[in-house]
């Protein structure tokens, strides 16, 4: 049950993002300690694979230190263009669930799924599905934290890393932070953690015992924040960084579709879902894209951009089916179908709509 006013926040964090991408794209790196960065004298580790982390290699560590800790460490030069592209791909996945996406970096984002687009019953189910789709579409692992605010969601995503998921349900926030060292809390850096430790504050429970005025005396205007997070409270909203640029819907079928009629039926129902959103949001786009993923994971996308936005369900349906028909004959079964509308245009003055011929 969802009580009114209780939010559903997911923090999604890619596991060793840059390093995992390199291991994904180069099989020889798999299972081996990898650092993304330059191994030269003054180089720094930008990201470390989990294998490297076992040796104590960390991000931002000088490359020379990293090599000393881990002699077999393999340095790979970063490919930021690739990371950015994957990050966009992941954000497209998020966008299927909510408009409220607050990216923190290329590999991390908060999602407010209080009203998720897919109608999934719980934020946990949403997080599970998002992680599964990230894995299916990018081959990469993500961890997720699910809770009722950003602070707890972020702590939770770290809790079962890598490739894990943890939920802090309403009412369990205080208990969750109780045992954690204060250095793990958002806004508590190494210096502050040191200072807290010197004041006898080591865990969330220690922090909770302090009064606001005590914390204010010692930590100034951050005091109330520390007091709040010790109680598992955080009222910061998820602030999306960009207006929505597309709306899409896709489905992976239980069994691969082989019949054109079934494929078209699938495309039509995706088109209808997208249309429902377009109508509700009163956002109409000029570009329709149909994505077809085959049973062997090969993927085809077909898109058409019109002179004017698609403003009717029938038009969207017709174009979607036309597009999917361009891949016939089907080379193999279809595993996934998606329909996306993009290139939104502001609704102008009253405009007479036309038949599509």
């Amino acid at each position: 049950m969802t009580s009114p006013g209780i939010r559903k926040i997911i923090h999604v964090d890619m596991d060793a993002f840059y390093a995992s991408v390199e291991q994904r794209d180069n099989p020889q790196l798999r299972g081996r300690p990898v650092a993304v960065g330059y191994g030269a004298k003054r180089g720094v580790v930008a990201a470390a694979s989990y294998e490297a982390r076992e040796y104590g290699v960390r991000s931002a560590m000088p490359s020379t230190t990293a090599l000393r800790k881990c002699p077999p460490l393999i340095f790979v030069p970063p490919r930021f263009e690739v990371y950015r592209a994957i990050s966009r791909q992941i954000r497209e996945i998020f966008a299927d669930y909510t408009d409220l996406i607050e990216p923190l970096s290329l590999d991390e984002a908060y999602l407010d799924v209080t009203e998720n687009r897919r109608g999934l019953p719980t934020a946990t189910a949403t997080a599970t599905e998002i992680r599964a789709r990230i894995k299916a579409e990018t081959g990469l692992n993500a961890s997720a934290g699910v809770s009722y605010n950003k602070f707890l969601a972020k702590l939770a995503s770290d809790h079962r890393k890598p490739n894990g998921q943890f939920v802090v349900p309403p009412g369990y926030g205080e208990a969750f932070v109780e045992t954690l060292p204060v250095g793990r809390f958002h806004g508590v850096g190494p210096v502050t953690a040191e200072k807290m430790n010197s004041l006898g504050i080591h865990t969330g429970a220690d922090l909770r015992r302090q009064t606001v005025s005590f914390l204010q005396t010692h930590f100034g205007k951050s005091g109330p924040w520390y007091h709040a997070i010790a109680h598992g409270e955080d009222h910061r909203p998820v602030v999306s960084d960009r207006p929505r640029k597309s709306s899409g819907s896709e489905t992976t079928f239980l069994e691969d579709l082989t019949e054109p009629a079934a494929v078209e039926q699938g495309v039509l129902s995706m088109a209808d879902e997208v249309w429902a959103w377009c109508e509700k949001a009163q956002a109409f786009g000029r570009t329709v894209t149909v994505k077809i993923k085959y049973g062997d994971f090969r993927q085809a996308t077909r898109s058409r951009t019109l002179a004017a936005p698609v403003v009717s369900r029938e038009t969207l349906r017709t174009i979607s089916v036309d597009l999917v028909r361009t891949v016939y004959p089907l080379p193999t079964g279809v595993r996934l179908l998606g329909v996306t509308v993009s290139s939104f245009e502001a609704a102008g003055p009253p405009a007479q709509l036309e038949f599509g011929f």
Partner: protein
């Protein structure tokens, strides 16, 4: 050529044929009417090269022969002559002399051989239908004919044989369809004998309008002859022959929605009057009115930055989820004007999809209307 004819008969026939003649003509002979006297009849012919109308009237023929005369001038003269007078037309050399009572007109005439005659030839299929049926086919579709010249294939009524499904049975029908891309009108009637093999043809707007003008006074049976390139309507002593639009009419069935599930029924007269009132406020350019539907009630509204706003509520039969949809008020009125029964039924899907409009009491006509985004 020399004949005498009753003024009333001449006026009536000239009235019929002269409207085919364009007011402005770059080819002088097309401003003229061809007069041909033989066998106790005067045949009057007017053409614009695409549409030709010939009407025969009884006349006293003193000397058979042919002549041309400026159509509108001759018509104006006949119109101004006193009722019940006799008119003598006398053509010699290059002058047509018209005498009636004490009036005399001498009109310069162009050579008869210059007058273009539409090639005859085989007109293929023949069938007859009643004047009322033809009127219905024309009236309920002609408002939707496109005037956009770039889409010339929509500048007429698409007439063709088809099949109407009623339950499991299929009934052969004659269908007339017109669309301008915003709305579509489709009317059907039982397929007349002889029409089963007709090709689908696009009859130009002007032809449709000229035929329609003549139908009010026409005898009941209208003979239609049809080929791939021409259509001919023959009734009384009038034969109207027209070229067809050489184009492909779009697959109009595609835009007739079949899955619309929101049904509203409303009194056609009340609806039209309310639309008309509310539309007073909508901007001249868009003529948009908004229909807000909720259970049992329709709220019509319009607004414009300059004029203000208007709303009106009507009781309707509607039992579905609330829906807001905009339409061009003119288009709504064009359609409701064609509804003869008391009730009009709207079958809707959503604010961006085509809406189907029908007469509750008469299934022969179907209208499809694209909404406006408001």
């Amino acid at each position: 050529m020399k004949i005498t004819i009753e003024r009333a008969a001449l006026l009536r026939s000239l009235g019929h044929v002269q409207s085919v003649v364009e007011r402005r003509n770059t080819i002088p002979i097309l401003s003229n009417v061809l007069l041909k006297a033989e066998n106790g009849e005067l045949a009057l012919t007017a053409t614009d090269m695409d549409l030709e109308i010939v009407e025969s009237v009884p006349a006293d023929i003193a000397r058979p022969g042919s002549a041309t005369a400026p159509a509108h001038t001759l018509y104006d003269i006949a119109r101004k002559l006193p009722d019940g007078s006799q008119v003598e037309l006398d053509f010699t050399a290059d002058t047509l002399t018209l005498r009636s009572g004490r009036s005399q007109f001498r009109l310069g005439a162009l050579p008869v051989e210059d007058f273009p005659v539409m090639a005859g030839g085989d007109t293929g299929h023949r069938f007859t239908l009643s004047a009322n049926d033809l009127k219905m086919l024309v009236d309920r579709t002609k408002f939707a004919i496109s005037t956009e010249e770039t889409r010339y294939y929509l500048n007429g009524i698409y007439l063709h044989a088809s099949k109407a499904k009623t339950g499991a049975a299929e009934i052969p029908v004659l269908r007339a369809v017109a669309t301008d891309g915003h709305r579509l009108a489709r009317v059907e009637m039982a397929l007349p004998d002889g029409a089963s093999g007709i090709p689908g043809v696009i009859i130009p707007r002007k032809t449709v309008i000229e035929v329609r003008k003549l139908l009010d006074e026409a005898a009941d049976r209208i003979e239609v002859q049809l080929s791939d390139t021409k259509v001919r309507f023959a009734f009384d002593s009038i034969v109207l022959t027209s070229k067809l639009i050489d184009g492909t009419f779009p697959d109009y069935e595609r835009v007739i929605p079949t899955g619309n599930d929101k049904v509203m029924e409303v009194n056609a007269g009340q609806f039209a009057a309310a639309v008309d009132r509310v539309a007073t406020i909508s901007t001249e350019k868009s003529r948009a009115v908004k229909l807000s539907l909720d259970r049992g009630i329709l709220t019509l509204s319009a607004s414009s930055p300059e004029a203000g706003s208007a709303t009106e509520e009507i009781e309707v039969s509607y039992d579905n989820t609330a829906l807001e949809i905009g339409f061009n008020s003119r288009y709504l009125l064009d359609i409701t004007q064609q509804i003869e029964g008391e009730g009009v039924r709207f079958t809707l899907a959503d604010a961006g999809s085509p809406t189907v409009v029908r007469d509750v009491a008469d299934g022969s006509a179907l209208y499809v209307l694209m909404p406006m985004r408001v």
